[in-house]
């Protein structure tokens, strides 16, 4: 009988405790939302120590600007500014009316890319995958060099399409893969492409994740291996063209391709963005995206601020005016000279 009473007591306790927490309620209070954003980033963001950011100091800098009577546009501005202190292109505050994005990671760098020149001179008659211009391929230098432009890893290539593309380069001596202005997308798509350029399983980096809410709470780096595709492989020379706007999954693609024996990178430094982003939300329904899992290179170094190319080449303004893509031309000359 005593056990039955204990059970009954527990049962009543559970049934009474089924409501929502007060903290779970919809709340538009600027202070509550400010504190919620600060806490989410404090407990989840992965580059505080690497970037030497004192997050408490950031709190103290922005907290006095919060006023309970402020309009939501002003709140958005303050929250965006606070989030942008992390200097991370993966930080996005998304509201029904505005979307914040940190862009300084590329705005102060030369573009090294002109879509107009590429499209009007090099992609004339180029085939495409899908319905958009994100994935185009053709042969250059009198059919001697294969060329793939992959403008966004949000777009995927089917394995059969990749087979078809590589077969169309059957008689080419080398290949150029152009990922300039590729702002990222799905790592599955970038891995699918990279897996065509190696003959055996290769270590390409490491990944970590947060194991707790503290800034230094990370798992041991776990190795990332790239495995060769079971379909058509390309083991002749490859040059990957890069610029500062290669970000996130494109940055990861470049990091992996650099480890492959027949591959070099040419152009400008990539933009970085090596933190795998998660999404969370504030009490007023706004969403926040942030980096949470660092992906390291084979030397266990961060690539959050970008990867320098093997061969640095810039695209001068006068070349753009003359309709010439210096990076493509340099890559063609190098590949032709090496494959005589």
């Amino acid at each position: 009988m005593a056990y039955f009473k204990v059970y009954l007591y527990l049962l009543i306790l559970c049934l009474l405790n089924q409501g929502c927490d007060m903290a779970d309620e919809y709340n538009t209070s600027p202070r509550k939302n400010f504190e919620a954003l600060w806490k989410i980033l404090d407990e989840n963001y992965c580059f505080f120590d690497y970037k030497g950011i004192d997050w408490n100091e950031v709190h103290d800098k922005y907290s006095p600007q919060i006023d309970e009577s402020m309009y939501e546009y002003k709140l958005f501005q303050i929250l965006s500014d606070m989030a942008n202190e992390l200097k991370d292109g993966h930080i996005n505050l998304n509201t029904p009316f505005l979307y914040s994005s940190y862009e300084n990671w590329y705005t102060e760098y030369p573009p090294n890319f002109s879509w107009g020149v590429l499209n009007s001179k090099y992609l004339v008659g180029a085939a495409r995958c899908g319905d958009y211009d994100e994935i185009r391929y053709t042969r250059l230098a009198g059919n001697q060099i294969g060329y793939i432009y992959y403008g966004s890893f949000r777009e995927s290539i089917l394995e059969t399409e990749l087979d078809s593309i590589l077969h169309s380069f059957e008689h080419c001596r080398a290949l150029i893969i152009d990922v300039r202005d590729n702002g990222g997308g799905s790592l599955t798509n970038s891995d699918r492409l990279a897996s065509r350029f190696l003959a055996e399983k290769t270590l390409c980096g490491y990944i970590q994740h947060k194991t707790g809410k503290g800034h230094p709470d990370f798992s041991h780096p776990y190795p990332i291996y790239l495995k060769p595709s079971h379909s058509t492989l390309w083991l002749k020379p490859v040059i990957v063209l890069t610029n500062r706007k290669c970000y996130s999954a494109a940055n990861n693609f470049v990091s992996k391709m650099r480890e492959l024996p027949n591959v070099r990178t040419l152009g400008g430094s990539t933009g970085g963005g090596s933190g795998f982003p998660f999404t969370s939300e504030l009490p007023n329904g706004w969403s926040i995206r942030f980096s949470t899992s660092p992906i390291l290179n084979v030397n266990m170094q961060h690539t959050e601020f970008g990867i320098e190319p093997d061969i640095a080449v810039t695209l001068p303004a006068e070349d753009i005016e003359n309709g010439r893509d210096t990076l493509i031309e340099t890559a063609i000359n190098l590949l032709l000279a090496e494959t005589e």
């Binding site: 059970y7 049962l11 559970c14 049934l15 089924q18 929502c20 927490d21 903290a23 779970d24 309620e25 919809y26 709340n27 919620a36 989410i40 989840n44 992965c46 029904p96 790592l187 599955t188 891995d191 990944i207 994740h209 947060k210 194991t211 707790g212 809410k213 709470d217 798992s219 776990y222 990332i224 795998f276 982003p277 998660f278 999404t279 969370s280 939300e281 009490p283 007023n284 329904g285 969403s287 995206r289 949470t292 899992s293």
Partner: protein, 282 residues
């Protein structure tokens, strides 16, 4: 005096024995109920969001109960299969979580008959749960998978009574897992790291009351209508876990309704004894 008492006891035994023997020979009926449910759901999974999502849930539930073994029929086996679908919204009501869960429990009970009208069945059960919560807005962390295997205790109280000659059976059942293992990823690990890269280390964790509390409460009434039996009631399901800094809370309250049938799975005893069966429930 002792002789008289002994003689009376012997007589009682002699009277009871044939009846018991017939009782033991009666075919054991399977009591099967298939129920549909609908109600409210509250889902919170901090891997997806720090907030509680509220909405509705629907479920389909099949439960089977049967006396097992020989003897006086004090042992019974119960199997419950439950499929639960939920759709919930965040406090700002601009994002959806969809949940789908399937669970199976196998329980064995011992019947304590307090009176012909009131029985308590106590026992143990094993419970398997699989499912997921899907957040429609999150990019790289859109899903939280749930896989649990538990051992638990189970308690059933059955009360038979009549209202205006209408025989009714009320049932309260509580199921409380006390130990098991469950799928529990690390705090910030992505499903990309686990399933694309292959880092599945430490994803299985022992659970007990220190990191998980789950309880299901059933309250049902069986009402005979002509030759059928209507079962209607209320199901309250609580699931709470807190491990590796990830908190999950799934609460649902459903009204359930369905039909019950008693049948003999296999055997010819039904023909011999016509409508007489040994029920684990009634």
């Amino acid at each position: 005096m002792k002789r008289i008492t002994g003689l009376l006891l012997l007589c009682l035994c002699l009277i009871r024995l044939p009846a018991q023997s017939i009782e033991e020979e009666l075919p054991k009926a399977m009591n099967e109920g298939t129920l549909l449910g609908a109600g409210t759901s509250h889902v919170k999974d901090t891997y997806l969001s720090p907030f509680n999502y509220s909405g509705w849930g629907i479920r389909i539930l099949n439960e089977r109960m049967k006396i097992i073994g020989q003897g006086r029929g004090n042992f019974s086996r119960q199997q419950i299969i439950n499929v639960d679908i939920t759709s919930t919204k965040n406090p700002a009501e601009n994002v959806n979580d969809f949940g789908a869960f399937m669970d199976y429990s196998l329980g064995y009970h011992y019947r304590l008959e307090a009176s012909p009208a009131f029985s308590i069945l106590t026992g143990a059960s094993t419970h398997l749960l699989g499912g997921f919560i899907y957040n429609t807005r999150n990019g790289n962390n859109p899903l939280s998978a749930k896989v649990d295997i538990d051992l638990g205790v189970s308690l059933i109280a059955l009360w038979k009574f009549r209202i205006n000659k209408l025989p009714l059976t009320l049932r309260y059942q509580g199921e409380l897992p006390f130990a098991g293992v469950f799928f529990s990823p690390e705090y910030g690990v992505s499903y990309y790291e686990m399933f694309n890269i292959g880092n599945l280390s430490d994803v299985v964790t022992f659970n007990s009351f220190h990191n998980k509390f789950a309880l299901k409460n059933y309250l049902t009434a069986d009402i005979p209508i002509h030759s059928s039996i209507l079962r209607l009631g209320y199901l309250n399901s609580l699931y709470y876990s807190d491990t590796k800094n990830i908190e999950t809370r799934i609460i649902s309250n459903s009204f359930i309704i369905g039909w019950v049938k008693e049948f003999i799975p296999l055997g010819s005893k039904r023909i011999k004894y016509k409508n007489k069966v040994r029920s684990s429930y009634y």
